[in-house]
């Protein structure tokens, strides 16, 4: 055996260490799937459920929820059964004593006598085709509710176990978990479980995007007036028609119906992202809309019955969810879309609108027609005297009641008086629509520009009633919706198919880890900011890309305020902090009534505050500083908070709170910060330790809404002052979206001169109010007039600031020149090919 001397040698040591054998193989310990919550398939749906459950379970608890749903099911059965019974199985002749029953033992008529025998009854039902039709549909409806109920229970159960196992919540704190807490925990567990597999960390914005993907699109489409919901009817003038049925159809067409624009829940079909064959796609969409419209027309009767059942059924639910809805009015569906911020959850919107309910109905009640009042007063007088006589007679001798129809006439007269009284205004009510509108604005955050200063006008009222309609009108609209919806689909929406295709192409961005979302919902000032809304200089958006009514800016502020942990991108942070600082400075600076400055709207906040607080009857002294008020006001607790008065303390406190919130182990730090900040520590730390965290989060959200109100008012005020100066130079009324939405007028881009920048007035509310001459005068002097007429509720500071601003007159002279120049947009076809696909990939953490 030759011995080769090679470089390859046995490694003695390693073999002696581990002799071959099965025991000493490398052993692994499986991590196991400890929880089932890693990697969830449909995150959109999952987050939607969580947010819904959090909201529903909040304070209700699981059992209540279950019982409530079961009772609702029983209720429906009862109502349908009882109605059919009353219609078919009762012999009314016996009940009204028109027919006599021959009883042997007694002369009294008993209830069972009035019932028809079972066989007659069933025969009558069987003969009546309509009843059978209704019964079948209700049966289907009931089964649908039952299946939905069972499905919901499964979902609740799943979410509940998610709360307990993954979010590590205890049973006791489950009913008190607010959405903010749940969200913070979800962000936390993403690091551990990786619910979403694309990213290591999940931001708040990602979660909101997923929950509100389609709603954001709808909000943006309403904002850009793409959806045909406003109509000019010959008799009624401008009116809005937007019902649940219509909304359902829109969603069906755009988002999930057969052949919709979306491939699945998270991505737009790729052919819609390319601009190449937009005309073909528009044709395809138009024919789809036509078919869906025809289907709607054919199914009309079924939908009608279904709608009635649904209305009945959802009514109880609505009352449960929003206490404000018990009144005579409600926020219309269109209003909800118009007033909604981007990335605002249902419950956030609801609580905001509910807070605005009272001032809104007050405002609407300001406008009672004097003619009607006179008539109502007199009718009430006559009816009242008749009633009084009848009642007096009855008291004298109750046999009067047994005279035929006396009881019914007493009831009728009573009803008549009640109705009349609602038309007679409260004697003690002060007519101050401007301030009321301002309080409303503090809650609803959006209003078209031309309302300001025109609050007393009937036009403004009518437009506001489009947002805030009578519930009777709402129900009526719902009932005629099955007939009107197909007409709108076929004749109005179909015409807009090209615009819709363009909209989806231009305003869809793909965000890693989220999928395709509406680019407006990114709340990027640079892309969608409006120069008239504080993002001048920062925005690069063309008019087509700008969100109307300051939607981008207000939404951004709202989102940043409700989610203090959210870390926006650099520029956005800059914008937010700049604005906050300005508001803060206004709030804390010693706003002397006579301090003036031309450039900066100083003492703005003072104006803002004096308006609402006088209404909510919190007394303000003459010229002492705001901080003093704040200290005094905050002792009033929550009510004072709501009335916006303790602004500086709320801003201070909130600052320290959100700072503490960012720190790890926030609950303890937060309560310390609260205690340190003094003013409101009493209300917070008085609770027991269990309640403390709960209470802090409640107080926090209360502060957040107050802060947002202040910011909204500030931004509107600034916008008004900013645009008034420029509007008087250039007024451009954008009447319809068709003129500018398709192609971008390039003169807008190329004009660097700030004075010739155009300020389209509110897009969603095309102005119909002022005639040219009147409009100009109202721009310049209406503010003075009205602050003058309501001097008692306005501070001196407000008047001085407003009247001191030199507003150039005669703006309307240029009106005529500006408008036509603007309408010559690029021809549609020529721009087709060089239109770049506007789909941007957002690679980093979303903007």
């Amino acid at each position: 055996m030759a011995h080769f001397d090679t470089e390859y040698q046995r490694l003695e040591a390693s073999y002696s260490d581990s002799p071959p054998g099965e025991e000493n193989l490398l052993m692994h310990v499986p991590e196991g799937a400890k929880s089932q919550w890693h990697h969830i398939e449909n995150l959109d749906l999952f987050f939607q459920r969580i947010s819904f459950c959090t909201y529903v379970l909040y304070k209700n608890g699981f059992t209540c929820m279950l019982l409530g749903e079961i009772f609702e099911l029983v209720q429906l059965l009862f109502v349908v059964g009882f109605t059919v019974f009353l219609a078919n199985c009762v012999d009314y002749d016996i009940l009204f004593a028109n027919k006599f029953v021959n009883h042997t033992d007694s002369s009294k008529v008993t209830l069972p006598d009035a019932f028809l025998p079972v066989d007659v009854c069933s025969a009558r039902i069987r003969e009546n085709a309509f009843v059978i039709f209704v019964l079948i549909i209700s049966g289907v409806f009931w089964l649908h509710r039952l299946v939905k109920f069972i499905y919901n229970v499964c979902c609740y159960w799943e979410i509940r176990s998610f709360y307990i196992n993954a979010l590590k919540m205890t049973m006791s704190e489950l009913p008190y978990a607010t959405w903010q807490e749940v969200q913070a925990r979800i962000v936390e567990i993403q690091k551990e479980h990786q619910i979403c597999i694309h990213k290591k960390e999940l931001t708040e914005l990602d979660i909101y995007h997923r929950i509100l993907r389609f709603k954001n699109y709808m909000v943006a489409m309403v904002n850009k007036s793409l959806l045909p919901v406003r109509f000019r009817l010959p008799g009624l003038g401008e009116s809005v028609f937007y019902t649940r049925g219509l909304k359902y159809n829109f969603e069906l067409i755009f988002f999930w119906g057969p052949g919709s624009l979306f491939e699945n829940e998270w991505s737009l079909k790729s052919e819609y992202k390319r601009g190449g064959n937009r005309l073909e796609l528009a044709d395809k969409l138009a024919s789809r809309i036509l078919w869906i419209g025809i289907a709607n027309l054919l199914l009309c009767p079924v939908i009608l019955v279904w709608q009635i059942l649904y209305a009945f059924f959802s009514y109880t639910e609505v009352i449960k969810r929003e206490p404000g809805s018990l009144g005579a009015r409600c926020w219309s569906l269109y209003g909800r879309c118009y007033l909604r911020h981007f990335n605002e959850l249902d419950h956030e919107l609801m609580s905001r609108l509910s807070k605005g309910y009272k001032p809104a109905s007050k405002y609407m009640n300001c406008f009672l027609s004097p003619l009607l009042t006179v008539v109502a007063k007199n009718v009430a007088f006559f009816a009242g005297s008749l009633l009084a006589v009848l009642i007096a007679l009855t008291i004298y001798d109750e046999d009067v009641l047994s005279v035929e129809h006396v009881l019914s006439s007493i009831t009728l007269l009573g009803v008549c008086i009640t109705v009349c009284r609602s038309f007679i205004p409260d004697k003690h009510m002060v007519f101050c629509p401007e301030q009321l509108l301002r309080v409303i604005l503090a809650h609803i955050h959006y209003m078209p520009d031309h309302w300001q200063g025109n609050a007393h006008r009937y036009e403004t009222r009518d437009q506001f009633s489009q947002l805030f309609q009578y519930k009777a009108v709402f129900i009526l609209e719902e009932l005629i919706s099955p007939v009107v919806t197909p007409i709108i689909l076929i004749f109005c929406l179909r015409r807009k198919s090209l615009e819709i295709i363009d909209f989806f192409r231009n305003f869809t961005v793909e965000v890693i880890g989220v999928g395709d979302t509406c680019s407006f919902a990114q709340m990027d000032i640079r892309q969608h900011g409006h120069p008239a809304w504080m993002s001048a200089g920062k925005t690069e958006a063309s008019i087509y890309q700008q969100a109307e009514d300051g939607k981008t800016e207000l939404s951004l502020m709202h989102f940043a305020i409700t989610n203090p942990q959210w870390q926006p991108p650099q520029e956005t942070t800059h914008f937010i902090s700049q604005l906050k600082e300005r508001v803060h400075r206004e709030a804390t600076s010693d706003t002397h009534p006579l301090s003036l400055s031309e450039s900066e709207p100083r003492s703005l906040i003072a104006n803002l505050l004096v308006g609402p607080s006088t209404l909510t009857s919190i007394h303000f002294g003459g010229d002492s500083s705001l901080t003093n008020h704040a200290a005094a006001g905050s002792s009033d607790g929550a009510s004072a908070l709501r009335s916006l008065s303790p602004i500086s303390s709320s801003l201070h406190l909130r600052g320290s709170l959100s700072a503490a919130h960012r720190a790890p182990g926030h609950t303890s730090t937060m309560s310390k910060a609260m205690a340190g900040s003094g003013t409101d520590a009493r209300t917070v730390s008085s609770g027991s330790s269990v309640w403390e965290g709960q209470l802090t989060s409640l107080v926090l959200s209360e502060y957040a809404s107050t802060e947002m109100s202040i910011h909204a008012l500030y931004m509107h005020e600034l916008h008004k002052q900013q645009s008034r100066g420029e509007l008087s130079r250039h007024t451009w009324h954008r009447q319809d979206s068709d003129e500018s939405s398709d192609s971008i007028p390039d003169e807008v881009r190329s004009e660097p001169n700030p004075h010739s920048r155009h300020f389209p007035r509110s897009h969603t509310f095309p102005t119909t109010v002022p005639s040219p001459s009147e409009g100009a005068s109202s721009h310049s002097s209406s503010q003075q007039r009205y602050s003058g007429s309501t001097t008692d509720s306005f501070s001196a500071g407000g008047q001085v600031v407003r009247s001191a601003r030199g507003v150039p007159m005669g703006g309307w002279a240029e009106d005529g020149q500006a408008a036509p120049r603007h309408h010559d947009t690029l021809p549609e076809e020529s721009s087709e090919d060089d239109m770049p696909p506007h789909i941007h990939k957002v690679n980093a953490v979303c903007v």
């Binding site: 193989l25 052993m27 692994h28 499986p30 799937a33 089932q36 890693h38 749906l45 939905k148 597999i197």
Partner: protein
């Protein structure tokens, strides 16, 4: 969808389709397979060995590495040859390899399959006129495939979500344990010949039902 998706695109001649597909699918599966798990008591396991094999292509200047498991190879070959037969000589097609996890659900429902990674390979088939072009194509496709393989390896090397190593009871939910000598993650191969437009009826129906049931 909550899953990663990677797209690879290749342009090949009709006779190269099978080999090109095999090369790419096998490359991905090589990195997504492990040895058989042998569970011990105390909740630990050891991993068996996996052999590899170099495969030379006949119609492409290319050699790829695959797991030396005949069973796995048979399954893949079957899927690829079906795809090749369905593909016309001058057309487009897409074959996708989807890795998924099973989630056990309660009795009335079937198990959910949740994909976590999808590889789609888009194939463009071309016809070539003469032998010289074929020769060039042979080299070029080889180069392209080499690039794609590096591409695949780069993607796989990224530190991204993978299902966690399962305990003995869950192993069927993560890995395909039907093969004797190798244990890839659960996978599914599907193919599609043309870009069929429009949402299929089944997804619409599913969405319709989900929507009516939604909260």
């Amino acid at each position: 969808m909550n899953c990663r998706s990677e797209v690879l695109e290749v342009t090949v001649e009709a006779r190269q389709v099978e080999e090109a597909m095999l090369a790419l699918l096998h490359t991905i599966l090589l990195h997504r397979s492990s040895g058989k798990f042998h569970y011990k008591k105390e909740g630990t396991y050891s991993i068996g060995t996996v052999g590899t094999l170099d495969i030379d292509c006949d119609f492409i200047d290319f050699t790829f590495v695959r797991v030396s498991s005949e069973e796995l190879d048979r399954v893949i070959r079957k899927a690829v040859s079906e795809f090749k037969d369905a593909l016309s000589s001058d057309g487009m097609g897409q074959i996708s390899l989807e890795f998924y996890q099973k989630k056990k659900s309660r009795w009335p429902f079937s198990d959910e399959c949740i994909p976590w990674e999808v590889w789609s390979i888009k194939v463009n088939v071309v016809n070539l006129a003469n032998e010289q072009e074929r020769q060039i194509c042979r080299e070029k496709v080889g180069e392209k495939l080499g690039e794609k393989v590096i591409n695949v390896v780069e993607v796989i090397n990224r530190h991204e979500y993978l299902p966690k190593m399962p305990t003995q009871s869950d192993v069927d939910n993560v890995f395909d344990t039907s093969l004797k000598d190798v244990q890839p993650y659960l996978y599914k191969i599907t193919y599609q010949i043309t870009d069929s437009l429009g949402t299929s009826v089944s997804t619409t129906m599913r969405r319709l039902i989900k929507d009516t049931l939604a909260l």
